[in-house]
């Protein structure tokens, strides 16, 4: 059963100054699925991820050719509101980055940014997001405490809650579990599987087992090229490309 495409890259090239980090990437990302991006370090996974919600705009000297569409709309097209795009396409970073404020204020930050003022609505959103991020039970008694007092795994789940609170459509996760212990990691993996009912998830991971466990589709990047993009089951059992096979079986990377 094929889901409709939500994000579509067509012949996407990206340059950091002279250096080409993405080479003609074309890829259809299906809705309500988890898509994993794998590949050796420096192959352009984070770059591709950041291109999707235009976080690359912050890097000076980036040029982009080709096209990415979100629900058919060109995200680099004229008249597109970047803040709207980032509200629809949320991001969780590799290192947990809660703001130095209370747990509550962290989660309420996004909704407040987008104009939610009502205390009741905020309370609701905060609770609901913390529940979705599977951290509610751990923090419900200390919502007013600083978010920096949480453990790394809790902080990362808080960041997921914070991203969910703006009610996005797509969630981008850049090695969201790489700094975490196995228990927090498995919590976040379970969470992703739970979340895909309502969200589309694109995740970068260095962990092949993780991709195999949670992703529906997997994309293998190498030196800025998309070598192979297929159903995870297919890719991990019968990779089409020799390079994919070498990488998956651990012959390099």
């Amino acid at each position: 059963m094929e889901e409709p495409t939500i994000l579509k890259a067509e012949g996407l090239d990206l340059f950091y100054g002279e250096h080409q980090a993405l080479k003609s990437i074309s890829m259809d990302i299906p809705e309500h699925r988890i898509t994993a991006l794998i590949g050796p370090s420096g192959c352009g996974k984070s770059t591709f991820l950041k291109t999707i919600n235009r976080m690359n705009d912050l890097v000076p000297g980036v040029t982009i050719k080709g096209k990415i569409t979100y629900h058919g709309q060109d995200i680099y097209g004229p008249g597109l509101d970047v803040t709207w795009l980032r509200k629809r396409i949320g991001m969780v970073f590799q290192k947990p980055n809660p703001f130095p404020m209370s747990i509550y204020d962290n989660v309420a930050y996004g909704p407040r940014t987008h104009g939610v003022r009502s205390r009741k609505k905020l309370d609701e959103l905060v609770e609901q997001s913390l529940r979705s991020a599977a951290i509610w039970d751990e923090v419900k008694d200390r919502l007013k405490k600083s978010a920096l007092s949480l453990s790394g795994g809790q902080q990362q789940r808080l960041c997921i809650a914070r991203a969910l609170a703006v009610e996005p459509d797509v969630l981008l996760m850049d090695e969201a579990t790489s700094a975490l212990d196995p228990i927090s990691t498995s919590k976040i993996e379970d969470l992703s599987t739970e979340l895909k009912k309502n969200y589309t998830i694109v995740m970068v991971t260095h962990n092949m087992q993780q991709a195999a466990r949670v992703a529906d589709k997997t994309a293998f990047f190498l030196l800025g090229e998309l070598v192979e993009f297929d159903d995870t089951v297919q890719m991990f059992s019968k990779p089409r490309d020799k390079r994919t096979e070498d990488y998956i079986t651990g012959r390099f990377g």
Partner: protein, 285 residues
């Protein structure tokens, strides 16, 4: 360890140590003598009425209330102008300006300006504010000149603290769909208040200790000024504490009063430095 050193090395070591102790003792001793002497001569003259009345020839009293008020005047007016300007400039330089070379040049310039002798500001302030802008020698002209003097300090300290805000906070905020200014206001500025406050306190310290600028741009009257209307407020002109000290010591030869003012200035400086380090520590958490 000591036993293994040759006698010559041991003597050398001892000598060096004695020399170091001596210079440390000398420095501290000098400082303590200075402070002690000022307090010894100054404290007897300080009383409630000294702090709360104006000098009056008729009643034969001395009071430095006008100088205290004038000092507060220049502190408040200078900060009200310099703070938004300085913080604004620092935000522009660290968050918005995209031309790295230009930013480097401006940063070099502010650094240099922070170190030049204040008499130069005094001269320029006199020419610009008192003469060209026809403010004459008033507290307002003095305050504006002080603004120019403290701006580099405020810009530098604000910039330094903006730079310590982790990039990940900015990314986190923008990633949730904030606009740039919203991000700065809600995440960057709150995490750098401590630096801004420290900068302000340092600026107050420089203002309190400044004399050259205030001698060139404000009159040296030690009488009470009238601040009752806006017009009077703009026209008022009188000595601040440092200038009053000069006036009493140099022109009136009332050294007791001068020493009392010196004591008060010393105490203020200590307080300001304490406040700065306290604010830095407290807000950091």
């Amino acid at each position: 360890m000591h036993q293994t050193l040759s006698p010559f090395r041991r003597a050398y070591d001892l000598g060096a140590r004695a020399l170091l102790y001596l210079s440390a003792a000398l420095t501290c001793g000098l400082l303590l003598c200075l402070i002690g002497y000022i307090c010894f001569r100054g404290i007897p003259g300080i009383s409630w009425s000294f702090l709360t009345t104006a000098a009056s020839v008729l009643r034969g009293t001395v009071g430095i209330f006008p100088a205290i008020v004038n000092t507060l005047y220049v502190i408040v007016v200078s900060l009200v102008v310099a703070l938004p300007l300085g913080v604004g400039a620092a935000i522009y330089l660290t968050e918005y300006a995209s031309n790295r070379r230009l930013v480097e040049i401006i940063e070099f310039a502010t650094e240099t300006l922070a170190g030049i002798p204040s008499i130069i500001y005094a001269l320029v302030g006199n020419v610009i504010f008192c003469v060209s802008l026809r403010l004459e020698k008033t507290l307002i002209a003095g305050s504006l000149t002080l603004v120019i003097m403290v701006l580099p300090t405020i810009i530098r300290t604000t910039q330094e603290s903006l730079k310590t805000v982790p990039q990940s906070y900015r990314e986190g905020s923008l990633g949730l769909g904030s606009g740039k200014w919203h991000m700065i206001r809600t995440v960057v500025l709150p995490s750098s208040v401590d630096g801004i406050v420290t900068g302000c306190i340092l600026a107050v310290g420089r203002i309190v200790g400044e004399s050259a600028i205030l001698m060139y741009t404000v009159s040296m009257s030690t009488g009470m000024q009238d601040f009752s209307t806006i017009e009077n407020f703009m026209k008022s002109s009188g000595a601040t504490l440092t200038v009053a000290l000069y006036v009493y010591a140099k022109e009136n030869a009332e050294f007791a009063v001068a020493f009392s003012i010196a004591t008060i200035l010393l105490a203020l400086t200590v307080l300001i430095n304490l406040a700065a380090s306290l604010a830095g520590k407290k807000l950091k958490r």
